[in-house]
Amino acid sequence: MNAAAEIQGEALYAERMSKAFGGLKVFHDVSFTLPPGGLLGVIGPNGAGKTTMINIISGRLAPSSGQVRLGDTRIDGRPVYDNAGRGLVRSFQQTATFSGYTVSDNLRSALRFARRDLSVLERLAPLLDQFGLVENWNRHAEVLPYGLQKMLGLTMALATQPRILLLDEPAAGLEKSERSNIDAYIGFAQREFGCGVLLVEHDMELIRRLCPDVIVLDGGRLIATGSPGEVLNRKDVIDAYLGGGEEDDDAEH
């Protein structure tokens, strides 16, 4: 097998991104860097702006100020399909497949839209097999169990051979036993395809296991960065999760 990892990617830079919907500021001045082939965890309580952040980076929402760059190219406010063509591909929190289509056709669609060769699926075969997608190859996506649908959606994103993967809570809704699939998935993406991964996740065990670095969002602000071990022991981070003092951040605007 061609295990040669193609680490040639560019870093993803978020620079002072802010987003306001009318007068409501949901996102203030967030900056971070995802190095090529790196893995950065994003955590924060519900409503912290994590999905908004993925929407901004992928191009679905334009930031109110600040910018997003992929290498030297400014990509914020560009159409989603343009950014996907540049190698910046996201996954969705809910299951995202084309219903009425088989597993096979879902994967073929992903390859077609990303203008990739079918042989990518041969490279993905071990992963497809591990998730149980090979044995369900000709079944319709919508009749698969939730966990399988979710893995199918994630595999479709990976099949486009992105340089950067934006994963929006990949483990949400998966059973404990299925969560090791996410480890395998991220490992494979980094090892085989040299993907940089931005991992938004609520599962702290998963974050601790996988991420060398995390950033913490609360009320649309970046409140901490560092390794999971140190960040998760910080008082302000614990307060953010347990609903401590800083909560009315949103309310004052």
Binding site: V89, S99, V134, M156
Partner: protein, 347 residues
């Protein structure tokens, strides 16, 4: 690990045929219409066949847009553009070659659809429906008001017969041949177009947000579909004007869009065969029950309600589901095929 790779490689060798059975059957039925004039000279029958083919071709405009989950009322507008293009070309400029006229009847509406599409394709759902309906009203108004070009309320009357390589196609059976040729062109274009981009269209229909996130520029496909749907409607407009030898605004009444939608939905929107079968059944029924005029839109509306509630796959969808359950459930179609599109409404 290697076995998984081998299995996947094996699966990748399976290829779905370009046309499914439904496309072949549909094109075959339309081709058969070429034989009608040799079988009968009954003017009633010939005119009935004409009406069915025109209705079916027009309804293809609805079928194409439904691939993208867009309900279009704009068919009569583009029929009018196609029909009047032909009338103006033949009356004012003396063009009678059926191939030149056919090309014009396709291309002019398709070109008009590009700027219109740029304006309205950003709308979804009910808003798209509403705007396409308003479009038909605007076109009506233009046809009446732009009298120097369109003849206003008199229409454009007395077109010369069209010619095919110099042969004049003037009598009833010739008119049917022209209509059949235009219908076949419309069905062939639609079949090739919808099959060529079936993955793109299905993805946009099911989940356009996901399709874009994988790199598909959805707007390009919507714009293309809108233009091709307009072109095919234009061919139907040509056939209608050719049959009536007149281009008149009332031939392209806004309410007729309901009929075209009904043909496609009652026949079965999941397959091109549905559009043809819907047109055959409903145009015949309209004639049989003599429900011309005011009653038919109302009854068609009722029929849409019944189909939507009871058999969303329409005639073809329901028949396909039944056939499949007779054959036994073990035989799921493998990669592709018309049968796959049907079960949506099976319940």
């Amino acid at each position: 690990m290697t076995t998984a790779t081998a299995t996947v490689s094996g699966y990748l060798k399976q290829k779905a045929p370009f046309f499914s059975g439904h496309e072949w059957i549909t094109l075959g039925i339309v081709l058969l219409a070429f034989a009608i004039p040799t079988l009968t000279a009954n003017p009633q029958f010939l005119s009935q066949a004409n009406l069915i083919l025109i209705a079916a071709t027009a309804a293809l405009g609805v079928y194409i847009m439904l691939r993208l989950d867009l309900m279009s009322f704009a068919v009569p507008s583009f029929m009018a553009i196609g029909g009047y293009t032909v009338a103006v070309l033949s009356l004012r400029l003396g063009v009678t070659d059926v191939i030149v006229l056919g090309l014009a009847a396709f291309l002019v509406p398709a070109l008009c659809a590009i700027p219109l599409g740029w304006l309205i394709l950003r709308l979804k759902g009910v808003y798209f429906v509403l705007v396409t309906f308003v479009l038909t009203e605007i076109v009506q108004l233009l046809l009446f008001e732009a009298a120097p070009l369109t003849g206003g309320s008199n229409g454009l009357v007395g077109m010369p017969a069209v010619r095919f390589f110099g042969i004049e196609l003037w009598d009833n059976s010739h008119v049917l041949l022209t209509t059949t040729g235009l219908a076949f062109a419309g069905f062939l274009i639609t079949a090739i177009f919808t099959r060529r981009f079936r993955y793109e269209f299905a993805a946009i229909e099911k989940n356009d947000v996901l399709a874009e996130s994988l790199g598909l520029a959805c707007w390009k496909y919507k714009a293309m579909a809108f233009a091709v749907a307009a072109g095919v409607s234009g061919l139907a407009g040509f056939a209608l004007v050719n049959m009536l030898m007149t281009a008149h605004p009332t031939s392209f009444a806004p309410m007729s869009s309901v009929n075209y939608i009904t043909y496609t939905i009652v026949g079965g929107k999941g397959s091109i065969l549905g559009t043809l079968v819907g047109a055959i059944l409903l145009v015949s029924a309209t004639d049989y029950f003599a429900l011309r005029g005011e009653l038919s839109p109302g009854l068609f509306g009722l029929l849409i309600i019944v189909v939507t509630l009871l058999a969303r796959g329409g005639v073809i969808g329901t028949v396909t589901t039944l056939v499949r359950s007779w054959r036994g459930k073990g035989m799921r179609p493998l990669a592709d095929g018309a049968a796959r599109k049907a079960p949506k409404g099976g319940a």
